[in-house]
Symmetry: C2
Subunit: 911 residues, 2 copies
């Protein structure tokens, strides 16, 4: 591909004519920075001339093992010469040298990569030219020492402290406090010292090209400087921090980075020079005001370094010598917003009163700002409602729906775990659900700290402010339940060794020992665990969110339902805009007081005991359903029949084991022992090697038909009673874990029979659709047949992911998914973002199901229903709705709207 | 479909011209019996005329809720009249009545359905005609009483004992010993008594059409008799026994049964009449000789009832008055074998010296006979080698490869379980692997009786003659290992309550208590458990099997490899004709003495301990592989890297739990307790909720790269050493449980690196292909990418079935698959016969894999590799080989050949 264009010019030529070759749309070739420099130049903004080397050149260079593609160096050299012509200066010139900056710029903003080298082109000769031109010896030597320092650090990876130490020593020797008090001579001395540091620190083996007379020497050839700097940028694409950042942000490794070579302008040429960064609107709250800082007589790095106090941007116009530049900047702000139709962030430099634009991009903002800016821009006529909807990142919305650590708070993180459920909480440590409930009732705020949680802990989890576990992944019991409740949760904190029996936690790698009652704070958004109380902020839900969500609702085609198991959650879901309940798990209704009843059903040794348990359950469940259907009056409620294996409701056989041994050794009565042993034998008989793949779901209903009969009776009775009261209940019955059609057909028959009985008893009828979950590969492949006996499918993508991958999420999420992500074996956690192969199964099932029954309703009720990028994939398959936890409903409404918009309009590259 | 032909005539018309409308190829319309009656009539054999009502009529009748299709009764009536014309007699006639038999005949032979009614057409009038025609009053009354008895029992479901009791009473009253000593008058009295029984026993509600003057009356209208009998045959299609039989034999419920109405001939008309059944060759050993029995002066049912001793068929020609019929029969045998080109079984009747053929079909035979007959018929030029290969049922071959209960032995079955591994064994009960080993070393034959087995029991399983478990299904650990070893195993015997601690077994539903040392026998072919020793027979492996298998090898395209983990199994596999080892599981090599080593690796608290364990394992594994590669010299050996979760090698935490409690209560030292507790904590940390879907297979290798490095080093070293000795080892490395390409790519790199190291150390090189198992749906769907880094795929259809269905086989096979089969939710156990959706995944994976790499080798190494009907499905996908347990290799060779033949020639309906 020797004829591929690798370099693109931007800015004006010697006649002042724009010769820019790129544009904002070329982000994937020129990187974000390069593309926007080109765009600004094209629309007439003052951009120092330069050129951009493409991302593709980086990729080729890296893939070839750091070897330049044929012709690339020649092309760069030609553009360098062209730049010299356009500026009328030569790099390295002894009279009037051209200096350039070299900056990386990937298609997506990427901290962690090599960033910037300024003042490139200076050497022992051209320094004289710079002095000549600027008549400012101090400025020139300061520029040279900055260049050596930056080049050494950034390009050659020399330890930056060595230079700082040398400056400090020089300051002390000179008896001055600030760097800018050093004299021209002292700076010149520093240049020599810096060159020495360079010679000592740079490896001759790695850089034989720099060895002169047996010694590594700071490169004096400006072209060599330039190529070394470009190579360093290319190399930084694959440094560790950059790789980690890309993985975290799901950016492809194959994009590469561009390199921008730009003629230098100087903000440090005296009091009519300055440099600054700014936003066209306030990025924190979205207010329409210029926002930013500048520093007089400084180079860009000084602003960031925070050595001197910056001035707010509003003062620029009032600063002597900078008035015109300030007015020019105001105008630039306007031009940029009109042109980009978005809030922009910029970097600028004022050189002797003249404004130069060094960078612009669409500015990052908080969720609140994103909402306000989008809505304001619609009012201003800048963008459409649809564009406004696309401007808000759904994942960010979580920020607005949960308490957070105060951004100003200072605290030490003692351990880190998985950010399993967003939001932050403060409370005192408790080690059991029972303690949590007791202390909460006594008015104390508690954090439940457990090895991992199980359904028994539910009451304690509800009582606690937040949940912290040392085991389990993001879809562990603790995580799933916490997200469902909207409670903060940090899980899988491996550094914590929890000794619940003695109510002690030790923290690996420290002497810290925590006890019951100790105050801790957890941040479920970041996974941080903090000793002591951190101030929390409860963000106010502004009306802006509501506006954007209403606009989203106008746009989206996919319904958004919620997963909710009780009237309280149903109410929250409804407030958050859920269009019904897509998953009402009935097993949660069997906990608490009712656990005794279900236990007595399971362990019953006579039909009488069984019947009593069933009638108690029927009464309780009917009440549950009345509450839920009432909360969701007029909206569908999809009730899933009992799913988990029955042994989950029984005692842990290991505890019973131990109890029996104790009783034996303590000489308990033979009668008591016999009873306990028989209980243990019963439980052991029910235990399963792999309960996830055992006797649960529809299998359970087929083997214990009394249970679905009871549940369906409760559902139908509750609905009939409400209807008789003039309400509009819309129950649907969902049969889980089906793998063959006959299972569904059989259960459907049972359901229909019971429903008919109830209708006759109650003297009222209503529509009760019956459907199934598609959560096994066989069900997905058999969807054509299943549709003969199903009114709807709900894809249970959690279980479908488990069986498609052969991943037990409880086991793999903490045990090897972190390792797999770190080693790039997986690019995303498939339990967070739906995997392409799982989507393939969903897609096959949708096609086959619709081929049989074009009216079949298709939805998703796994965790993925609340994940924006999964929603995007699922929308492409054409599902009718997603169902997610109540707290994710707003996010899903927005994501569903964006999915619709993305599918109809090509996404802008600039977003 | 009023114009569908529902009735087909067979036999001659009044002029002696054949008017047969059907043929042998119409089995699915006329049933097996009807089709063959038609065929015999067509080729000129003496068949009493009659007609056949089609199977489709039965299906329509049943589907409509026992309502006759329009026009069907008219059509039957027309054929009845036609038959009367052809015979020249009328049914029910007072002078010369036509009597008919009514027999069912489904497309496949089906015991359990209503079978036969003879002498239909007799009533109080036509009995006079029969007396007139036969001049044999006794015969006539005997015929009438037989008819009433049979009609009542078979058509009306009256208890047969009532009639037998009446006969016995009559005999006692008459003072005679045999039924045939009863006089004509006594028989006439019996007729009246039988009619009374009929009136009392048949329900007036169910049969209002039979009520005359308020009393149920034996039907006198011959047409009513006929229609009732036909309806009874149709109804019997759906009786319980028939349904169960069809399920067991995988026969569709939609086939229906035909009904044959045929003019009666009488074998009981005196000493020149007879009836018999025969085979054209010996069905037990295949010898070419006429084989069968006859009874003079008897009707068919007498032969079966065994009331009188039958004569061997060879004597027929020497029996006075039957000489000609005997010679005719010889000729018929010849004609049938020439025509059907197979061994036939027949029913015949000789009426007053004249031979009539009542039935023929291809005869059932033992496996040994099947082999001999097939080979003999090739020598005789009757069939081709390919046909011979198709004549042997692969599933039957198992009979020839294992000891069996002596067919003559008498025994009582005390309990029944799953027939998990074929063959029979006798031994004394032991309750632990340790005891098994000790007693076996002391020379005792033992049966290992366990709740279920686990890898710890392996030594005991090897030491035992057979294995009996009360839990677990056909793919439980016990079953899989037993099949692999070729040891008999009965598992999931729920009636046994095993108290291993007290060494006692009780048998539910009996007072039986078994103790250690008690002698029992188990039959793994049937699932029977017997108290005491049953005589065993060790069938000799005749040369016939070898001949058929060699012919099979000439035909088949699919390779047959074996699953074997040690040199002994490898040798057996090779003897049985395996073309290599398709699955060598390395985890079995970590048991026994080596368990300590792997434990010390897992629990190591220092790198030194770890390294020592690894070097010990390396030494041991290298030895293993030298043995196996040597046994399979010149043939491929596919070695699977470590697959099970590491915690399987550790102690059961429940036992440790109890031990700690005991130690605590006994006041053990704090040091000991600490050690035990820390061990428990370590094990608990490793335990998994669903180990099947946890940290195993490739995941384990990625997290513990020392293990695959050690194993690959052992494999490569063993192979190099053998090659240096002039041998021809052909190892292949298989990486299990891959779900994403990066896993395989990473492990492949590790393998290649180690292999290269070994090659360099040893100074020799060889080909070591590296592949993966496809045992997860995601792997199947990703087969296109995986093929970029795999030389071969082996479909692990056990695990693929587990994840496709979401079935943990250890849990579901005993817990609900039996229920699912009983309720027709599943038609086959998907762990025995591969499911169509699993085949779909195999097919998708094969296509995608071959699209990427047309040379990729595809095989199957699950249990299905040894199941004939699965082999057929997998052959259709075009796999290169199957791999199965050594004892199934012969069966697989045959099945693979048949798959090839079936795919090229249309299977004959007559097989």
């Amino acid at each position: 591909m020797a004829d591929e264009k690798r370099v693109y010019a931007f800015g004006k030529d010697e006649q002042g004519a724009d010769v820019t070759e790129g544009s904002a749309s070329m982000k994937f070739m020129l990187g974000g920075k390069g593309a926007n420099l080109a765009e600004m130049a094209k629309i007439g903004l003052p951009v120092p001339p330069g050129f951009t080397i493409t991302c593709q050149t980086c990729v080729e260079y890296a893939n070839a093992g750091n070897v330049w593609p044929e012709g690339a160096l020649d092309e760069i050299d030609a553009y360098r010469q062209d730049l010299e012509r356009r500026i009328g200066k030569k790099i390295g010139d002894t009279d009037d040298p051209l200096l350039v900056s070299v900056r990386s710029g990937a298609p997506f903003s990427m901290p962690g990569m090599m960033d910037t080298v300024l003042n490139l082109g200076l050497n022992d000769n051209s320094i004289q030219g710079l002095i000549k031109q600027t008549q400012n010896e101090r400025f020139a030597w300061d520029s040279y020492r900055r260049f050596i320092q930056m080049f050494s650090k950034v390009v050659m990876d020399v330890d930056g402290d060595l230079f700082e130490n040398a400056i400090t020593a020089k300051r002390l020797a000179a008896g001055v406090k600030q760097d800018n008090e050093l004299s021209s001579e002292q700076l010149q001395e520093l240049v020599e010292e810096f060159k020495e540091i360079f010679s000592e620190e740079v490896s001759a083996e790695k850089h034989p090209e720099l060895v002169i007379d047996g010694k590594v020497t700071f490169p004096q050839d400006p072209n060599q400087q330039l190529i070394l700097a470009i190579q360093a940028v290319f190399g930084s694409w694959n440094n560790e921090r950059a790789v980690i950042y890309r993985r975290q942000n799901k950016i492809s490794d194959d994009l590469g980075t561009a390199v921008n070579v730009q003629s230098m302008v100087f903000g440090n040429k005296g009091d009519t020079s300055a440099t600054g960064v700014a936003f066209t609107r306030n990025p924190a709250d979205g207010t329409k005001e210029f926002y930013g800082d500048y520093l007089v007589n400084a180079q860009g790095e000084d602003v960031v370094a925070g050595i001197r106090n910056t001035q707010p941007i509003a003062q620029l116009k009032e600063t002597k010598g900078l008035e015109q530049a300030g007015r020019d900047l105001d105008e630039v702000f306007g031009i940029l917003e009109q042109h980009y139709r978005d809030m922009c962030d910029i970097e600028f430099t004022i050189e002797q009163g003249r404004l130069w634009m060094l960078q612009t991009r669409v500015g990052k903002r908080t969720a609140a700002a994103a909402l306000k800016i989008a809505i304001d821009m619609v009012s201003e006529g800048l963008i459409s409602k649809e564009e406004a909807v696309l401007r808000v990142n759904p994942a960010q919305l979580d920020q607005l729906l949960h308490p957070q650590f105060d951004a100003q708070a200072q605290y030490d993180v003692i351990a880190k775990g998985l950010n399993a459920s967003p939001g932050a909480a403060v409370g005192s440590i408790v080690f059991s659900a029972k303690d949590a409930v007791e202390k909460e009732q006594a008015g104390e705020k508690v954090i439940l700290v457990r090895w991992e949680t199980n359904p028994d802990d539910l009451a304690g989890m509800i009582a606690a402010e937040g949940i912290l576990t040392s085991h389990g992944g993001k879809t562990s019991h603790a995580a799933v339940i916490a997200r469902g409740m909207g409670a903060p949760c940090v899980c899988g904190v491996e550094a914590l060794k929890i000794d619940a029996a003695n109510k002690v936690v030790t923290v690996a790698g420290s002497d810290l020992v925590l006890h019951e009652g100790d105050l801790i704070s957890i941040n479920g958004t970041t996974g941080d665990v903090v000793l002591g109380a951190v101030d929390l902020v409860n963000p106010e839900l502004s009306g802006d969110l509501d506006v954007i969500l209403k606009w989203s609702d106008e746009v989206r085609e996919m319904g958004v339902l919620a997963n909710a198991d009780n009237p309280e959650d149903a109410k929250i879901a409804r407030e958050f805009g859920a269009g019904g309940i897509g998953l009402c798990r009935t097993e949660h209704m069997f906990l608490g007081d009712r656990k005794n009843i279900i236990q007595s059903f399971i362990l019953a040794d006579s039909q009488d005991v069984k019947d009593k348990a069933l009638s108690d359950l029927l009464e309780a469940q009917t009440g549950d359903f009345v509450g839920i259907f009432d909360s969701m009056d007029g909206l569908p409620v999809v009730v899933r029949l009992l799913d988990p294996p029955l042994h989950e409701f029984l005692n842990d056989p290991r505890e019973l084991d131990k109890e029996i041994i104790r009783l034996e050794l303590e000489g308990a009565s033979e009668e008591l022992l016999k009873e306990k042993r028989s209980l243990l034998a019963h439980i052991d008989e029910m235990m399963e090697a792999n309960p996830m793949l055992g006797l649960r779901g529809v299998r359970l209903s087929i083997l214990n038909p009394e249970l679905p009969r009871m549940q369906v009776r409760a559902i139908a009775s509750a609905a009939c009673d409400l209807k008789l009261q003039g309400k509009d209940p819309k129950p649907e019955i969902m049969i889980p874990l089906v793998s063959v059609k006959a299972e569904l057909a059989l259960l459907r028959e049972v359901c229909e029979e019971v429903i008919q009985e109830v209708f006759e008893e109650k003297g009222v009828e209503l529509e009760i659709p019956i459907g199934t979950m598609i959560e096994l590969p066989r069900a997905a492949l058999s969807a054509g047949e299943l549709a003969e006996v199903a009114d709807f499918y709900s894809f249970g993508t959690n279980d479908l992911t488990q069986t498609t991958f052969g991943f037990s999420r409880d086991d793999v999420e903490s045990k090897f998914i972190p390792n797999y992500l770190a080693n790039k074996i997986l690019t995303v956690n498939p339990f967070e973002t739906i995997d392409e192969r799982v989507v393939e199964l969903v897609s096959i099932a949708s096609e086959r199901g619709r081929a049989t029954n074009p009216d079949i309703v298709l939805g998703v009720c796994g965790e993925h229903g609340g994940d924006p990028s999964s929603i995007m994939s699922l929308a492409k398959v054409g599902l009718d709705y997603v169902s997610c936890s109540p707290y994710r409903v707003p996010l899903a409404r927005l994501a569903a709207a964006q999915a619709k918009l993305e599918s109809t309009t090509q996404a802008s590259d600039n977003r």
